[in-house]
Chain length 402, copies 2
Amino acid sequence: MTAQSGVLVRTQGVTCAAGFRAAGIAAGIKANGKPDLALVLNEGPDHAAAGVFTTNKVKAAPVLWSQQVLSSGALRAVVLNSGGANACTGAPGFQDTHRTAEHLADVLSDWGSETGAGEIAVCSTGLIGDRLPMDALLAGVTEIVHELAGGISGGTDAAYAIMTTDTVPKQAALHHPDGWNVGGMAKGAGMLAPSLATMLCVVTTDVVATSEQLDRALRHATSRSFDRLDVDGATSTNDTVLLLASGASGVAATQEDLDAAVLAVCDDLADQLMADAEGVTKRVTVTVRGARSEDDAVVAARVIARDSLVKTALFGSDPNWGRVLAAVGTAPVDMEPDRISVSFQGRPVCVDGMGAPGAREVDLSATDIAVDVHLGVGDAAAAIRTTDLSHGYVEENSAYSS
Amino acid sequence: MTAQSGVLVRTQGVTCAAGFRAAGIAAGIKANGKPDLALVLNEGPDHAAAGVFTTNKVKAAPVLWSQQVLSSGALRAVVLNSGGANACTGAPGFQDTHRTAEHLADVLSDWGSETGAGEIAVCSTGLIGDRLPMDALLAGVTEIVHELAGGISGGTDAAYAIMTTDTVPKQAALHHPDGWNVGGMAKGAGMLAPSLATMLCVVTTDVVATSEQLDRALRHATSRSFDRLDVDGATSTNDTVLLLASGASGVAATQEDLDAAVLAVCDDLADQLMADAEGVTKRVTVTVRGARSEDDAVVAARVIARDSLVKTALFGSDPNWGRVLAAVGTAPVDMEPDRISVSFQGRPVCVDGMGAPGAREVDLSATDIAVDVHLGVGDAAAAIRTTDLSHGYVEENSAYSS
């Protein structure tokens, strides 16, 4: 999907880039005692940053705060908590976010790293609607600063601490041959959908770049990675993707190289999010070709990827291609019904709008499923990652808050 | 929902109106030997008719045929089969539909009722993508004409013969005090969504009315009934709703009375479709108020009604109101996030965008669930009927074609 230079690994995350330290601890926000507080610190020399946030009109307090902070184009730290989304908590919830940033700024300043609250982004994830346990959270902020570490451990601890229904942490790191690095961590297993695949993600780099360059690279990457992951069509109140640059490598990359590297990391993280989605039994890639434009291809692929009848058929390993036709026919894009073709796992099941011989016998028992649809009206193509709709999804989501 | 005059009952359907006879038989289209062929005959004196069809770009052969036939504004008969949708079957599938109408016209003409193929609508429902077993179907057409009956039995037999995954037949009949009647039958349990709730429905009346009057009454009714039922967001290739008038009562109704009566029958049938939807364990009405326009209210209610996380929470009787906020926040309509209120079963769970005391304790164990959302920006309101997302839905839809 990408043409980046360099080696991508999953054993490191945000601390693979020079100038960054991170930590993750159990602060007592989650009732089960698991890690729930993470910190990513940019020790510079640069502090350029960019962010992309949920398009949901109902935005969580930390999203409102971080959007405001990011207007300066600089960040010294990101503090993230799981165990509560701090969404739909009104003005008191916003004050909680503000207090968190203020407190972290004080602690970092006491600790020798002069920082203002306006240089700190806050991210929260978990159940919507409840206030955060601020005593535990603030005590955790005091403590976590002492746990900051570089290398593999700091980033990995942070990646664990942001998990909710995730079963594994998600990290990716790219080492560019020119001597700079991009690392990232992400969480997200439900409410994964368009306009950011509902998640928290922090990406770091030690390249020398302005906030404008970072912003361009981040939007380029998210529109082609997280925005094309759609597990359940639900867009969260808390989606946040941040990109921080320390400049510690002393190397300035071209915009093109930066775009490619950030996309490579985001794309790999998106792949990890799909593989760990709630209740997933099939990892599905829906590719639409023959569309009038790439946007049309994205829209059509998303409509198929969201269709409950397509998703339940895939759960049942049932090559019910008629449901793909019925789904794509509702997409608001140009298509030629009599020229639509569909294949499953590379085997044609529908040609020119009609069933192909043997279509009902295609084997869909594999875990990775390729659905390819040709609209017959153009040359543009795009792919959406999704999952099946399983008993596990229903089970997990029918008892989340209780 | 309606202000119609007259008594509505569910024990009669299309043959409650004078001038209509109907039948339903097992023609061997379904492998399991259940009834699969239905016929509704309008014996006049009038033959005015109107139809509303799926908006899916991928339209089944019978939809293409019936749309063409309806351009004349007249129908003498409707022949319907379950056991196969005759969708995505290309030109050969269209020829099958044409042959069906031609054959029925011949049989009816031989039988003394001079009819042309162009006066016959055809409806099909079942699996997409397979050709119909035409030998069985045409033999069935020859036979079914001899089974035509008025009264309760003919309509009920027809209502049984159009069932697919439906567990009960759906009929409604309204007897107007002015001496005319409207009756209807419908089927549909999956692929129930907007722009007609994916279904076949035939409504009959013995009122004296032009095809223009019928068309207006039918569009008025479907936009407020079937279009506001959304079980799984999937729009079928075969949706068809037909309204036939015999004029046999000799009474001409006002447009207003006709609108109200047709809406009452369609609304009741929509209610029956919701109650029998695939895997349903909860019948849910999502009402949005305080919207800028009725269209906005419909859009917002539909977004909530389609949200997998809301639907799985309802399946688990979990008052997870945050998911309702997260869902409505993605609706492309005006809203004031800090003024949104939500109640479950009439109990406030969210007021002005924040949780209400006791919100997590609201009892959602009932079968009928009311979700009310106030957007805080206007006075318009609308409701969408939907269901929960259950294990039963996943089970039924993961093994439909196999």
